[in-house]
């Protein structure tokens, strides 16, 4: 094995320290405490776990955390009233509505009713358009985390060939925009791409975000390339005992690590960065709302 393992846990911890330092400065110098509101509708187990750990980390970095847990049968109008209140609440700088929402709620309508300035997930249609046109926006957390890791590893990304596999709205497309913003030559490959192996082989940077377990083998990777694995797939792992499962990414870690220059593991790679970037976005939103300089290194 030759590749440097990019330790997402350790890097995310460093990002959270930076966020925490900035929060301290905001409190001491300006008397402002950044606030993040998380709205959870229903009792989806995975969502509850996420929301709990988001809340915990928000408090750990010194920010105010507000959780709104709503009944699964909450009417859309009531949810919109709550979002409107949060939009107008001066102590709240970031609003996150945990997805997926129950089927009777119009996800698009709900997300687009969040004030774009408080949309720390970066899913509001205006933020999507602002990012798509290279303007200041709230950037979706997962691709922002990937970009931070790439910048940290390489310094400048300018002129590198980047291939993003997967064209999802929450990862693939914003990731491509961010890499273009850092002057990479960017190819977006997907399920319809012919000769995917050839396309991936020319990449200095590969970002895999398709949601197919271990789909990218080592012989698709150019020697020395950096591989960012966004996939989280659960596979049965009978070798660990009956009924046991394991998490794997979209790339076949062992064969890719033998060729790549650097690679993120799953778990412990991109995953931990997502919440760290949510906190970073909240601080950024807070600074913008108060007309203060944005925290360096925590935004695009």
């Amino acid at each position: 094995m030759t590749a440097t393992i990019i330790d997402g846990k350790e890097f995310a911890a460093r990002v959270r320290v930076k966020v925490g330092n900035h929060v301290t400065r905001l409190k001491n110098d300006h008397g402002i405490t950044p606030g993040l509101a998380v709205v959870l509708v229903g009792e989806d187990l995975a969502s509850q776990v996420y929301v709990r750990s988001k809340g915990k980390m928000t408090v750990e970095v010194g920010m105010k955390s507000v959780e709104h847990k709503l009944d699964i049968n909450t009417a859309e109008a009531d949810l919109l009233v709550l979002i409107d209140q949060l939009n107008n609440d001066l102590d709240i700088h970031g609003i996150l509505v945990q997805l997926p929402l129950p089927k009777h709620l119009d996800e698009e309508l709900v997300i687009n009713s969040i004030s774009p300035a408080k949309d720390v997930d970066g899913f509001h249609i205006s933020n999507v358009g602002l990012l798509g046109t290279g303007q200041k926006s709230m950037v979706p957390c997962t691709p922002l985390g990937c970009l931070m890791m790439l910048r940290d590893h390489h310094g400048s990304l300018s002129g590198m060939n980047a291939v993003v596999i997967g064209r999802s709205n929450i990862v693939g497309k914003p990731m491509a925009q961010l890499l273009l913003g850092d002057s990479c030559t960017v190819t977006i490959a997907h399920s319809r791409t012919k000769d995917l192996a050839d396309v991936v082989r020319r990449a200095d940077i590969v970002v895999a975000a398709v949601g197919r377990a271990e789909m990218v083998p080592g012989d698709w990777i150019k020697k020395g390339a950096t591989v960012i694995d966004v996939g989280i797939n659960r596979l049965n792992a009978p070798e660990k005992g009956e009924g046991k499962t394991k998490l794997v990414g979209d790339v076949d870690f062992d064969s890719c690590a033998a060729v790549a220059g650097a690679i993120t593991p799953v778990p412990g790679g991109v995953g931990p960065m997502t919440i760290a970037c949510l906190l970073a976005n909240t601080v950024t939103a807070c600074c913008r709302a108060n007309g203060l300089d944005e925290p360096e290194g925590l935004t695009v």
Binding site: I125, V128, G129, G132, T133, S158, T185, V186, R192
Partner: protein, 297 residues
């Protein structure tokens, strides 16, 4: 023109324009039966001969498309706030179907902030961030006109973008990025190149479809094109010809490239006319959307 003289390697933008305008005109003729259709308003800020040419072309196309077209010329001294106010009034005016904000604008005007002020349902140029956001999310109804024109011309060849390798040279906000998004949504594998790209020819040579929008006269020669490829030339460059006269050329060396490529769009007469036609088509899309949300009967 005699049929034998037509070079079928050149994609005729004017013919495509005429077809689109016919379609739009038929739509508005029918819409007018239900009552008078609102008008398009072109806003120019400050006097510029360059802008005047665009406006004239758009006005002509609007006539052919059966759309009323008003030209407003705001003073060079108008403030940002006043512009915003005027745009908000047009947003609220049921007599205004769509707003076109001509560029360039004077230096003291922040054009992006004004584009954001135009209501997305009246944004016939597809420049509001929300319109671009919709494109990113694969809702193509109101795409920026030049980008939409490029896609239209690719389809004119009869090729299905699905699975094709597209190389977009240039990553501007109004052309390069939206073209990439539109073609990605159509299932193409898209690579975006720009001034920091190393070995441009390596990328351009593997393209089934090459779209060029950089503003460098004749940047793309025959040696940069794969045999049989579709080449869409969005560049408009003023150069002095061998006869000493000023002429307009694209980013592609058309004469050389057409010997290699399967199809190439000429400049002028390729993407330009289709862009104007797409503006009228967007007016149609805006009308349909305004109807769908109940703004108009």
């Amino acid at each position: 023109m005699n049929g034998a003289q037509i070079d079928h390697r050149l994609i005729d933008g004017k013919a495509v324009m005429a077809r689109i305008l016919d379609e739009v005109s038929a739509y508005f003729a029918e819409a007018a039966i239900g009552g008078r259709v609102a008008r398009l308003v072109s806003v120019s800020i400050g006097d510029s001969p360059e802008v005047a040419v665009y406006v004239r072309n758009q006005a002509r196309a609007a006539v052919k498309a059966g759309i009323r077209f008003d030209q407003e010329l705001w003073s060079n001294e108008v403030s940002q706030e006043d512009c915003k106010q005027l745009i908000h009034e047009m947003n609220d005016d049921p007599e205004v179907l769509g707003i076109i904000l001509q560029r360039p604008v004077p230096d003291h005007i922040n054009v992006r902030s004004l584009q954001s002020a135009i209501h997305p349902l009246k944004d016939v140029e597809g420049m509001n961030p929300a319109s671009i956001g919709n494109i990113v999310y694969s809702d193509m109804a109101l795409a920026p006109c030049t980008a939409a024109a490029a896609v239209m011309l690719i389809k004119e060849t009869g090729l299905d973008p699905k699975g094709l390798e597209v190389v977009m040279i240039g990553h501007s906000e109004i052309v390069g990025k939206p073209v990439a998004l539109l073609l990605m949504a159509e299932g193409a594998t898209v690579t975006v190149c720009h001034h920091m790209t190393r070995s441009l020819a390596i990328h351009s040579r593997r393209a089934d479809v090459l779209v060029v929008a950089v503003g460098k006269a004749h940047l793309i020669g025959a040696d940069m094109v794969k045999p049989g490829a579709v080449v869409i030339d969005i560049g408009i460059n003023h150069v002095v010809g061998s006869d000493g006269k000023s002429q307009i050329v694209g980013d592609v060396d058309t004469d050389a490239v057409k010997e290699i490529a399967g199809w190439v769009t000429p400049v002028p007469g390729g993407v330009g006319p289709v862009t104007v036609a797409m503006l009228m088509r967007n007016a149609m899309a805006a009308h349909q959307r305004q109807k769908a949300v109940g703004w108009i009967e």
